[in-house]
Subunit: 502 residues, 2 copies
Amino acid sequence: MDISKLMVNTKLDSTSPYYLQIAALIRTKIIDHSMTIGEKLPAERELALLFKVSRTTAINAYRHLEKDGYVNIKNGSGTYVSDRYALENKTSNEIPWPQLLKPHIQPSMASLMSELMVSSFVEDKISLDAGMPDPSYYPIDIFSKLHRDYLGELAPRDFGHIPVQGYEPLRHTIAQMLNLEGIKCHSNEVIILSGSQQGLYLTAKVLVEPGDYVIVQTPTYLGAIQVFQALGARVLSLPQREDFSFEILEDYLARYRPKLLYCIPTFRNPNGAVINTEERKKLIQLAARYRLAILEDDPYSKYYYEDPPPMSLKSFDNYGGVVYLSTFSKTLMPGLRLGYMVAHPSLISRIILEKQYIDLHSNNISQWLLDLFIKEGYLEKHLIKMRGVYKNRRNVMADALNLGLKSKISFNIPKGGFYIWCRIIDNISSRKLLQETLKMGVSFVPGEAFYAVAGEDKDFRLCFSQHNEKVILEGISRLEKAIEKFKKGQLSIPKREVRPII
Amino acid sequence: MDISKLMVNTKLDSTSPYYLQIAALIRTKIIDHSMTIGEKLPAERELALLFKVSRTTAINAYRHLEKDGYVNIKNGSGTYVSDRYALENKTSNEIPWPQLLKPHIQPSMASLMSELMVSSFVEDKISLDAGMPDPSYYPIDIFSKLHRDYLGELAPRDFGHIPVQGYEPLRHTIAQMLNLEGIKCHSNEVIILSGSQQGLYLTAKVLVEPGDYVIVQTPTYLGAIQVFQALGARVLSLPQREDFSFEILEDYLARYRPKLLYCIPTFRNPNGAVINTEERKKLIQLAARYRLAILEDDPYSKYYYEDPPPMSLKSFDNYGGVVYLSTFSKTLMPGLRLGYMVAHPSLISRIILEKQYIDLHSNNISQWLLDLFIKEGYLEKHLIKMRGVYKNRRNVMADALNLGLKSKISFNIPKGGFYIWCRIIDNISSRKLLQETLKMGVSFVPGEAFYAVAGEDKDFRLCFSQHNEKVILEGISRLEKAIEKFKKGQLSIPKREVRPII
């Protein structure tokens, strides 16, 4: 077995030593019979390259496995899967899990993720990939203070089961907030979710049957495409244009009768695009005519760096078809695991039934703390501060790109959100560029991760929210050097290239 | 429309005034067009009966709706759905959500739940229904102390995204705990869940396709039956016997090739039954032979009141087919929203992929606090204390039943768990009995809620964990009076009987 496949959906985290994590991964595959007795494992150097760790770490991982009897290290020859574990655990009657499991629709991009991991180890890695707020600005102190100050007001039953739909005071607070933003709704039309990913999942779950058509704008958020694909939907793409692609949408509507359009109208991930007010009104009109449900995903609209963006699609909704979804993972911190959805009561009641099966209800303590945080005005203050911080980072990154890479890449300065979406002018694929930048310790997300169907691969996404200005400048300077290499023909393609699984 | 159907899956909670909640429910149905313009609503007295509230509350609900223009109250005639809202919101193009939603398999028991609500209002209601720990013993103070003492040790990234599989230190702690209990596992075989309901859902999700057979012991936990039914499984029942029904199980295995057996081997909900050690070994043998996966749900084994119960099925698992599921909702408090699962790595990897779609990962703060709670030895202390508390309550309830109802009901004293499972000796159905006890302010769960296929209805479940001894005694004394009524022929069936939806 190609050990690089191990890496699909695998990430080393910082909670335990790397060598233990690598050993555990390999051990799993041995127990799993994905690797057979006597099979040769990658050389230590290769293993190190694969996991982006030092050679010592790779050696330690193998030694740890040897100690537990999973592998034999033969000096000068290599490391082999031992028969000891297999013998000890040899039960002719081990249950064949792979046959028992339901057939699984493999979402696209799994191979890309392994590609991302094929790189040598660089100490001071700069991640311009993950779309996350900067952890050093998480308002942890305020949450602790609220916890201290208000804990006495809680009754024991507040730590018991609460309604599936969410903690009632928080639903009220969110409904109030939304009414101020032009979304007329009652707290009964709001449901609290364990992150907005759950809203995506649940909406897709109650609407999409295998073979149904779902429209997405492309490029767009990978997690949404994956959820639709996993449910067996056929995903139709609205390509990126200067204006919203109404003629294509209308053709899709007439031709395929899709149930759902997924879109991020404001500061879209990954390209920062905004649907303007006139287009929003027209979109609602068209959707109403064709009875098309719209899932409006809105994680970024609070992060505007020029004028406030247009009102949400939901605020123009006169046919009850817009499902509005947002999250506190971007505005506050992902660890809260809280998002929310506003939709027609018919949909909300059905979503409640489904959510009940999944987790009964979201976490009580997070909901209670978040409600206090918003009520005491901290959310507003936090957003004002963060708009300033991120605006500056956006400017610094855009200036650096303009200064050093003007002739090599093109991009628009986004008016909000977390990302600059770049296009390589020369004939270099973004995957190849990533292979180079990883060697220098810079990561970004290649463009194809944002398309339902892979096309020309010359785009990539840089995230400016996670690091401070100094780190951003260093990251862009390394990116510059990587692109230089291509120009000078110094490009060396790594030996272990991972090919798509076909 | 029959307003009693409003009540399906609806529960008034204590977070906002009842009249507002009732008004909101009715409002939803008006917006929803479930109620038509001009339709007459139930008389205030009927509404009060339906929601178990006072008549004043019912009047206030209607007044509130009138103020907002949803209903007209005509004195001496009744309350009617107003045309004002309908006119204002009349859009000929409202999206037809019910048609867009995927066909939904309605789990059984929905009608039973509405039945539960048909009762008049009693001030000092005693709930012997929900299977919950006593909130007054939730260890909230200790959690707060841990929060205070250790918050400084957390890094901001601990509030960001963590692995889907769960917070690594907690997985380690749980694996350690399980190894002491005879379940040999590595932290990589453990996944943290947002409550054990999520483990039920995910296991069913990756295994069960429509038409697949799933075996359950009956009576058993309603939530499991519902999850299987919602996925289109055909549920086969193993009836309750003195011993484990091996001959029936083996017939099912040969006849239907079921994929999965769901069971609660220790202090089963609802009847407290325990599969003994010999039977456990035999069950594993049989399951291994037939390649049957077993989902072992184990929420109650820590609550034993005599000798410790047999070791878990998982500890005997020599064919990798047992999925072990447990929760902290019963041992600590539901508000943590944490459970966990231990299974073969092949299953865990697939479950991780599915959980990612559902909520990315469970709540960080709960996981971090729970890890500290266990590590500092508080869990062990809490369990010792609670075993004492619940044992006493079990004894008090059993003694009271023996004293007052010996000739009317039969029951076994459970050796652990939260419930006493009673059987009515006379020819009275438990539903009818419930209608009587509700009038006196005592609720319990009628037996048919625990069967995949409704049968004879003479069982019911009493929960002794939630209330103190004094309340338990009062509850049993009211139950006694209700049963007396049947004897004396004083039974009056309420006028508004809700019939099963057929």
